[in-house]
C-alpha cells in the first residue's frame, strides 16, 4: 500500500462549518487530502461525509471556513472540467440507456468518444450498455452512475459510497480501479460506511458528528486503537473520543450524549449488518464468471 509522502495537498479544508436546517453538520472541520492517492471518508450515516464531499465539489453552501482544491476555491469554473462527482443517490437519467448517459456526461466533460466504451467496460457494464437505466439492478445502476463520474478521466474523483450494493468480486475490482486511477495521478476521495473497506484506502478520515475523529493510515488507525479489526478499531476510537469534552460545540436536536450513543449503536449495527452480507457474499461470489480477481493488499 502506498504511503503518500507530504508533497503538498490536493484538497485543503480549513475550519469548514456547514449548517443544514439549523443543525451544525460540519463543525470547524479541517483536513488535507494528498494528491494521487485514495482517501477514505468513513463514519456512521449522518456524520457529515456527504456534506464534506459536496463542499469539496463546490455545491454545498457553507457557513464558514474555506475549501480549496488544487489551489483554487472549491467549485471554481476551472475545476469543474477536472472533477468527477458521484452522488450517493443514482444521479443519472433513468429513461436513457447506460451508453447514452455516459456519452452525455462525456460530452459535457469534454471527453473523447473512445472514453465512453472504455469507461463502461471499466465498471463492468459492457453487456448492459444499450439497456435503459431503469431496467438495471441497483448495483448496475450505481456503476452506471460511477461511469458518468469517471468518463472524463478527471483529476479529482469524489465518489459517495460507490461500492454500496456491489458483490465482493466487483467491489474488489472497483477498489483496484480507484488505485489505478490514483497511480495515474488522480486524487480519489471515496466515502463508505463499510468498515472493512477502510483498509483499502491509502489514508482514512474518520468523521463522526461533523468532526474529524481520525486522520491516519489504516495501519495508524489500527495501531492507535490497539486492534487489527477495523470495526473494533473504529468503535474504540469513537468511545475514546466520547470521553473527551465536546468543547462547547453547538448541538442540534440530537443532544450530545444521545448523539454519541446513537453513533456507536449505528456503527455497531452497520458492522453486524456487514458481517452478515459478508457471509452472504461467499455464496454469491462463485456465480461470477469474471475470473480475473486480482488480489489486493489487505
Amino acid at each position: 500500500m502506498r504511503v503518500t509522502v507530504d508533497v503538498g495537498s490536493a484538497i485543503d479544508v480549513a475550519a469548514l462549518t456547514v449548517r443544514r436546517g439549523g443543525r451544525v453538520v460540519l463543525d470547524s472541520l479541517s483536513c488535507r487530502i494528498a494528491p494521487a492517492s485514495v482517501t477514505g471518508l468513513l463514519g456512521p450515516s449522518g456524520s457529515g461525509k456527504t456534506t464534506l464531499m459536496r463542499s469539496i465539489v463546490g455545491v454545498q453552501r457553507i457557513a464558514a471556513g474555506t475549501v480549496s482544491v488544487f489551489g483554487l476555491p472549491a467549485g471554481s469554473p476551472e475545476l469543474r472540467a477536472r472533477t468527477g462527482y458521484m452522488t450517493q443517490s443514482v444521479s443519472i437519467y433513468d429513461d436513457l440507456t447506460v451508453a447514452e448517459n455516459v456519452r452525455y456526461f462525456a460530452t459535457v466533460a469534454g471527453a473523447g468518444r473512445t472514453a465512453v466504451a472504455r469507461t463502461i467496460d471499466e465498471v463492468g457494464l459492457a453487456g448492459a450498455a444499450r439497456q435503459l437505466v431503469h431496467t438495471l439492478s441497483g448495483g448496475q445502476r450505481s456503476r452506471a452512475s460511477l461511469a458518468c463520474a469517471l468518463v472524463g478521466d478527471p483529476e479529482l474523483l469524489v465518489l459517495d459510497e460507490p461500492t454500496v450494493g456491489q458483490d465482493p468480486v466487483l467491489r474488489e475490482e472497483l477498489w483496484d480501479m480507484f488505485h489505478a486511477r490514483a497511480r495515474a495521478g488522480a486524487t480519489v476521495v471515496v466515502s463508505s460506511h463499510v468498515m472493512d473497506e477502510a483498509v483499502r484506502c491509502d489514508r482514512l478520515l474518520l468523521i463522526r458528528d461533523g468532526a474529524l475523529l481520525a486522520d491516519d493510515t489504516p495501519a495508524g488507525v489500527q495501531a492507535a486503537a490497539g486492534t487489527d479489526d477495523m470495526d473494533a478499531a473504529f468503535l474504540t476510537l469513537i468511545r475514546q473520543s466520547g470521553q473527551e469534552p465536546l468543547g462547547g460545540r453547538e448541538r442540534g436536536i440530537d443532544g450530545g450524549a444521545d448523539g454519541r450513543a446513537d453513533a456507536v449503536t449505528d456503527l455497531a449495527a452497520k458492522a453486524a449488518e456487514q458481517r452478515h452480507t459478508r457471509s452472504d457474499a461467499s455464496d454469491t461470489g462463485g456465480r461470477h464468471a469474471r475470473g480475473d480477481r486480482q488480489g489486493h493488499g489487505q
Partner: protein, 249 residues
C-alpha cells in the same frame, strides 16, 4: 470566466432531452394525438359551424402547446432536481444556460411537431380558415409551446414534489386559459379582468393567432404580440436561471 453557453454542451443537452422523450413513445403519441382528439370534440360540439369553429380552433392552437410543454417541462425539471442529476451537472462545466436553453431547443422541436400536426388537422380536416399564412399560425403555436416550457421551468423551482409540480398547472396555466379570450371575448370582460388578462402572456399568443385569422398580411399587432411573448419567454428563462443554484443548503 467560463462562457455562459458552450455550444458543445448545449447541443448535447438538447439531444439528451430529446432522446429521453423518444424513449417514451407513449408521451409522444399523447403529445401529438391529444390535440387532434380534443379538436374533434370541439368540431362536433359546434357542428362545424363557421366562423365559430375557425375562431375556436385557432385559439386552441395556442393553448395546446402551452399546456403540454408546461406539464412536460415542469415534471422533467423537477426530476433533474430530485434525482440529483442537477446537482451533478452543477459540478461539471455545464452552465445553467446550457441546461435551460437545452430544454428550450428540445421542447421547441417537440412543440413544432405538435403544432404542425395540430394545425395541419385544423386546416385540412376541420375546415379552419385564416386570412393570413398557415406557417405563421404554426410559428405562433411554437411560441406558445416555448412559453409553456419557460413557465414550466420557473414553476418547477417552487415545487418540491411531483404533486406540487402538477398542481402548479392550476395556478399558472388555468387562469391564463380562462382570461385569454377563449370563453369570453376580452373586450366584453369587466375592467379588472381585462387588466389581469393584459398581464398574462397567453393573451398575446391568442391575440397574435387572431391577428393571423383576420389579416392576410402580418399586422403590426401580430409582431408586437410575438415580441411580447418572446420577451416573456426570455424573462421566464432568466427567472429560472436565478432559481438554479450551484450551491444549495
Amino acid at each position: 470566466m467560463t462562457p455562459a453557453i458552450t455550444p458543445r454542451i448545449l447541443a448535447a443537452t438538447a439531444a439528451r432531452i430529446l432522446r429521453q422523450l423518444t424513449h417514451d413513445p407513449r408521451s409522444i403519441a399523447m403529445l401529438v394525438a391529444l390535440p387532434v382528439v380534443l379538436m374533434t370534440f370541439l368540431y362536433f360540439m359546434f357542428d362545424g359551424a363557421q366562423p365559430l369553429i375557425s375562431n375556436l380552433l385557432l385559439i386552441m392552437l395556442g393553448i395546446f402547446p402551452l399546456v403540454a410543454m408546461f406539464l412536460i417541462t415542469s415534471v422533467a425539471m423537477l426530476r433533474e432536481r430530485t434525482s440529483g442529476t442537477l446537482e451533478r451537472l452543477m459540478t461539471t462545466p455545464s452552465g445553467k444556460l446550457d441546461l435551460l436553453f437545452g430544454y428550450g431547443i428540445s421542447f421547441g422541436i417537440a412543440a413544432a411537431v405538435q403544432g404542425l400536426v395540430a394545425a395541419g388537422c385544423a386546416y385540412w380536416f376541420f375546415s379552419m380558415s385564416t386570412a393570413g399564412s398557415a406557417w405563421l399560425t404554426v410559428l405562433v403555436a411554437i411560441l406558445g409551446g416555448l412559453l409553456g416550457m419557460s413557465l414550466g421551468l420557473v414553476s418547477s423551482a417552487f415545487a418540491r414534489t411531483e404533486f406540487q409540480a402538477v398542481q402548479m398547472f392550476q395556478i399558472v396555466v388555468i387562469p391564463q386559459s380562462l382570461l385569454c379570450g377563449l370563453f369570453v371575448p376580452r373586450a366584453d370582460m369587466a375592467t379588472w379582468l381585462h387588466v389581469l388578462s393584459d398581464l398574462m402572456p397567453l393573451t398575446y399568443v391568442v391575440e397574435a393567432l387572431q391577428q393571423i385569422g383576420a389579416h392576410a398580411e402580418p399586422s403590426a399587432i401580430l409582431w408586437r404580440d410575438a415580441g411580447i411573448v418572446a420577451g416573456c419567454v426570455l424573462l421566464a428563462l432568466g427567472l429560472a436561471s436565478a432559481t438554479l443554484r450551484r450551491r444549495t443548503a
